[in-house]
């Protein structure tokens, strides 16, 4: 139990997928203009990453490894991820049209969110069991959502600040996320690897 909890904590905060591994920066910059949209994006990505982690584990252990098809790993993972994203998109469009509109192009782009593929590939690399794989995926997604939420809060305030013209928009946002990354370095060493 303790081990699982530590894994969750470590993936969510200490080895945060966005701020420490620098994965998934595209949606982090793209869908962080409002906290509500960020929350929606975070939940959607959490769903996809967790699902993809589970599916990729099954794919790896039941298909790729037994048939020695390691070279198809990226291809097949992307296939699974794309399907999961498509499913999520349809579900969101049906259940919450407002969220669907506010997420816009970034929703189908979860497919190309490197955090999703990254987590799936890292899972294989680490050689986790099924439960750990899912936890790893969920923890990473949780970390992604937390960062997205914090960052969206910061950007909402940033939008009200009188940022000099040279820095307004993306530059200030990038500086902000780098400072956030600096802050997250405080977590380093909390749990020995």
């Amino acid at each position: 139990m303790n081990e699982y909890l530590l894994l969750l904590l470590s993936t969510a905060l200490i080895n945060n997928v966005v701020l420490v591994k620098f994965l998934g920066l595209c949606p982090t910059m793209g869908v962080s203009k409002s906290v509500d949209a960020a929350l929606g994006m975070g939940l959607a990505t959490t769903f996809v990453i967790t699902l993809a982690a589970a599916a990729s584990w099954m794919l790896e252990h039941w298909l790729l490894a037994p048939f020695d098809l390691g070279f198809l790993r990226i291809l097949s993972f992307i296939l699974v991820i794309a399907a999961a994203v498509q499913f999520t998109e349809m579900a969101i469009r049906k259940t919450s049209p407002a969220l669907y509109e506010s997420l816009g192009i970034y929703l189908p782009l979860i497919t190309t969110n490197c955090a999703v593929l990254g987590v799936a590939l890292l899972n294989v690399q680490q050689g986790y069991g099924f439960v750990k794989s899912v936890l790893f995926g969920f923890g990473s997604a949780l970390g992604f959502t937390i960062v997205l939420l914090i960052f969206a809060g910061l950007r909402e305030r940033l939008a009200l600040a009188s940022v000099p013209a040279a820095f307004s928009g993306a530059p200030a946002a990038f500086i902000t996320i780098s400072l956030l990354s600096l802050a997250f370095m405080g977590f380093s060493g909390l749990i020995p690897a």
Binding site: F67, L69, S76, V80, M90, R93, P97, A98, E101
Partner: protein, 176 residues
């Protein structure tokens, strides 16, 4: 090789089937946005936006090809309403917005030809043949269709005068 082809094919087929069923399950009807926006527009089909009528403008706005601010008669309030519906932000151009323009008649030149009365889509102009016409400001949509009709150039577009009840404090000047 065969295993690879087979496995990917099966994978694709399975996922495709699942998605196909999901698509049926999560079916959403066509985009009702255009009708919704059209219902908000003034409907006078004045053409000041550059689109064929209000329906055309509504379609263009819904498709993102036109800005919600493209309708001069609708003015600020329409732009904001549409932008809210679309979930986009609009640049309203700040304080220099003169507000809606309405038609006004220079009574010294009006000859009472009734052409403007026939052109007005909202029946905002009062008057009969050989009588001086008058514009009811509250009903004028600002479509400017009467302007070209006037043979004596007695019609002009003017901003609505600010009354005491409508006046409000301007936004404080920004300090650097």
């Amino acid at each position: 090789m065969l295993a690879a082809i087979l496995s990917l094919t099966i994978l694709g087929a399975v996922l495709g089937t699942v998605l196909g069923f999901a698509n049926r399950f999560f079916q959403v009807e066509g985009n009702p946005l255009v009708e919704e926006i059209e219902a908000l527009m003034p409907g006078s089909n004045c053409g000041q936006c550059g689109f064929p009528g209000c329906a055309g403008a509504a379609a263009a706005i819904a498709a993102g090809q036109a800005s919600p601010t493209c309708c001069p008669p609708g003015g600020r309030s329409l732009a904001v309403t549409i932008a809210q519906r679309l979930g986009v932000s609009v640049e309203l151009g700040g304080a220099e917005d003169p507000g809606p323009l309405v038609a006004d008649i220079d009574e010294s030149i009006c000859i009472g030809c009734t052409r403007c009365i026939r052109a007005c889509p909202t029946d905002a102009i009062l008057g009969g043949p050989k009588q001086i016409h008058n514009v009811m400001r509250d009903s004028c949509s600002g479509c400017a269709q009467c302007i070209d009709q006037c043979p004596t150039e007695a019609m002009v577009m003017q901003p609505l005068p600010v009354t005491l009840q409508q006046w409000f404090w301007p936004k404080p000047a920004l300090r650097a």
